[in-house]
């Protein structure tokens, strides 16, 4: 209880948790929460570009679809893309970092040099190139993002595994006859799990921003998918009259990315008491 109360005092952690939970709830209950669930694919040209009001809380888009409803269903897409892309990146990066960090052979250097190559160019540039070659589809966005973001996990896991390798408890496990796989999975991995979790939380924010950028550039899911970045791109030709069109999805992206970043910062502070508040 005291631990929980201490955590509750951490404003970053609480705010982050609230925002991320709201996103998850919006995604799960998009259908009952939406005023016009049919507006994800359907629309009503009679109500095209209506400003926010009693019927359409956040206004309507160029097709006459309710922006509030589309935003809710966009939350689903955001979660789908960012969770899958991040998960794949973790599944590639973590084993690579573990192997490269645990063993000290020629392939350790090779694996890390490979991740250096991927880090040598800004992630978004590579992701744009891959997404364009593969064509606009959700699974291609996911592929492009996980193919470019995995080195971040490889890097951090490598560094942490390296520093753990000479610890007594690892040596003891090896002396007891544990296989390398067993040591890595049962002894190293639990000790570095907190860093992976923190990195993953912040990585979610980065993935959401990158996915939105791809959507904005027209490389994301094809219309009429309610993708937040694409919604902002669509709004451009109706400015300055339809000011609400870009506002709502932009704020949604801002809040969600902020939520994940705050949650990541908060978790880092909670897990590692040495690094207190923002230092």
């Amino acid at each position: 209880m005291r631990a929980l109360r201490r955590l509750m005092r951490d404003r970053a952690l609480v705010t982050g948790t609230v925002i991320v939970s709201a996103l998850v709830l919006a995604a799960i209950f998009a259908t009952p929460l939406a005023n016009f669930p049919s507006h994800v694919t359907g629309f009503d040209p009679a109500f095209r570009l209506k400003p926010p009001g009693e019927v359409f809380w956040l206004g309507t888009d160029r097709m006459g679809a309710d922006l509030y409803s589309r935003l809710l269903f966009g939350a689903r897409l955001t979660i789908l893309i960012s969770v899958t892309a991040t998960l794949v990146a973790v599944l590639i990066g973590v084993p690579m970092g573990l192997i490269a960090g645990y063993f000290d052979r020629w392939y350790s250097d090779l694996l890390m040099r490979i991740s250096d190559v991927f880090l040598a160019v800004p992630q978004i540039v590579l992701a744009i190139a891959i997404a364009q070659t593969l064509g606009p589809a959700i699974q291609n966005v996911i592929l492009a993002l996980s193919a470019t973001y995995w080195p971040f996990w490889a890097r951090i896991v490598y560094a942490e595994t390296r520093s753990l390798r000479n610890e007594v408890f690892i040596e003891a496990a090896i002396a007891m006859g544990a296989s390398p796989l067993r040591v890595m999975v049962l002894h190293v991995l639990p000790s570095i799990a907190s860093s992976i979790i923190v990195r993953t939380t912040i990585g979610m924010g980065a993935t959401i921003l990158a996915a939105a950028s791809l959507g904005f550039l027209g490389l994301g899911a094809p219309p009429p998918t309610p993708e937040w970045g694409r919604m902002i791109a669509e709004s451009r030709e109706f400015l300055p009259q339809a000011w609400w069109y870009a506002t709502a999805p932009g704020i949604a992206i801002l809040l969600v990315v902020m939520g994940f970043n705050l949650l990541g910062d908060g978790l880092r502070d909670a897990i590692d008491p040495r690094i207190r508040r923002g230092s």
Binding site: L209, L217, S235, T247, L254
Partner: protein, 333 residues
């Protein structure tokens, strides 16, 4: 000596890293599309035309041979011909470089001028309302989608208040190039009016790029200053009875800003990445727009050229940062 060895080691790793990068980009552009010649010719082009293109660009050779040929070409400064502009990619890149560089330099200057003092103040007045305010702004700055910020700025400054142009770099033609930076060239030629116009065009894209950069700089500066403030040598200086002003200016800032200074190099590298999206929104005629257009046109020579170029700048920046860190931090000597 250690410093020299470090620099040399990093420098020697540059070519293999760039080679690896070339391999990745080459794979993306040559292996994934089933038939690059068909992509080039267009979907409805006759088969003979596709075959002719295939021969012309050596696409009928085995992939490894194509790769080796590309690498040898690049080493001798030939990045191939852009299929869209029909000019050498290297020429295109060099021509568009000043626009991006001018924008990035203005953005990073603004980010440092605002970010550095904010970070220091935020750390010195830690946990006051000032600190909370600054941190809220930086958290929002890092979470904002650049293209959205760009549109909001256009909406307010250009469409609502009519203060700045919506997009572009200059009215009509730019000043005759000397450096390629319109602001500098206009000043050299004494053309104040052109100078002011180009500043007005620079304003919005500069702010869009500067805000996330500024947020990063604030975060690093604040963390750096806090870190130094809690270190033993600062306690020692304070215990010696030195006035707080002296301790802050002479000891804390000097030690803390080394970290920030090196961070600025990395932020600058990231600005090039941000430029792809921001330049597209503002139709800024730089490398970012070039990259975006060539991606849309499946102009793979141009895509590879841009990626390699950005990669080199990025790796070069990292190298400089490492060296700067070693030079500035006396413990590294």
């Amino acid at each position: 000596m250690r410093l020299l060895a470090l620099a040399l080691r990093r420098f020697l790793w540059m070519p293999p890293t760039l080679l690896g990068l070339t391999l990745i980009v080459f794979s993306v552009s040559h292996v994934i599309p089933s038939d690059p010649a068909r992509v080039l010719a267009g979907e409805n082009a006759p088969q003979e035309q596709v075959e002719a293109l295939r021969r012309k660009y050596g696409l009928d050779k085995p992939l490894p041979q194509q790769f080796v040929r590309y690498v040898t070409d690049v080493v001798s400064g030939n990045m191939g011909v852009s299929l869209y502009t029909q000019r050498p990619v290297a020429t295109d890149l060099v021509e568009r470089l000043p626009a991006t560089f001018e924008l990035a330099l203005f953005a990073i200057t603004l980010a440092v001028l605002i970010g550095l003092p904010l970070g220091v103040v935020s750390a010195l007045y830690r946990n006051t309302w000032l600190d909370h305010g600054v941190r809220l702004v930086t958290i929002a700055g890092l979470a904002m989608a650049a293209f959205w910020l760009a549109i909001l700025l256009q909406l307010l400054f250009s469409m609502q208040w009519n203060l700045t142009p919506v997009q572009g770099r200059i009215d009509g033609w730019g000043p005759d190039p000397i450096t390629g930076f319109y602001t500098v060239d206009a000043l050299i030629r004494g053309d104040i009016e052109t100078f002011l116009t180009s500043l007005r065009y620079l304003f919005l894209p500069m702010i869009t790029l500067a805000i996330p950069a500024m947020a990063t700089i604030v975060r690093f500066t604040r963390a750096g200053v806090l870190n130094v403030m809690n270190s033993n040598f600062v306690f020692y200086q304070a215990a010696m009875g030195l006035p707080r002003r002296v301790v802050i200016w002479k000891y804390i800032l000097r030690a803390a800003l080394i970290g920030t200074l090196t961070q600025i190099g990395l932020v600058f590298g990231n600005l090039l990445a941000g430029a792809v999206v921001v330049e597209t929104v503002f139709s800024w005629p730089g490398l970012g727009t070039y990259a975006y257009n060539s991606i849309l046109q499946s102009d793979y020579n141009a895509i590879m050229g841009f990626t390699l170029f950005t990669g080199s700048v990025f790796i070069g920046m990292n190298l400089l940062v490492d060296i700067a860190q070693a030079v500035l931090d006396p413990r590294g000597r």
